[in-house]
Subunit: 87 residues, 2 copies
Amino acid sequence: MKITSARGLADALQQARKQQGQTQQTIGELAGTKQSTVSAFETSPEHARIETLFKLLSALNLELVLELRGQAPENGSGNHQAWDQEW
Amino acid sequence: MKITSARGLADALQQARKQQGQTQQTIGELAGTKQSTVSAFETSPEHARIETLFKLLSALNLELVLELRGQAPENGSGNHQAWDQEW
DNA sequence: TGCCATTATCCTCTAAAGAGGATAGATTGA
DNA sequence: TCAATCTATCCTCTTTAGAGGATAATGGCA
């Protein structure tokens, strides 16, 4: 999932949540936040905090990857921990 | 860059910025925000807004990808726009 | 058509983001 | 070592996220 907007992010998280058969309530509990906060995030992600994003990512067992826009993922299975030459 | 925390995100953005030879000032201008906001983001990302994140991603020409944690990127160059079966 | 589950809203309060605007501190290079 | 650049802070003000806590709307299903 390539994400370039808050809306796209919210949609992706919502879809992941549903695919995992979770409700806003259960995810909220896993994330240590309120159901209403999950709802707000899915509805108006722009106004949510980064902190909330990572709580949700953790609850959904997801992680982020940063890529240059329009770049083909440099795959390689060779997972470079190395902190350079990435872009 | 696999990102699983606000700190990691801030570090990655800062590194991308430096690699692009940009200052907080120039990125702030590109992003339509203040240099002090860029500084705050790099220093305490948890408290920043998702909105600010996407302003910065845009200014840095970066995009996000969501992946299941610990999953090898399903590369394939076959870029599936299709909005399903992603996880 | 009712019920139950799920999501959206709302109240109050506290903490704080980010804008405008500006300076203190730190970094780096000549 | 001095000056130019870059980053961290700070002031004020307005807006709002999210907590605690709870109810209104919706959605689905039998």
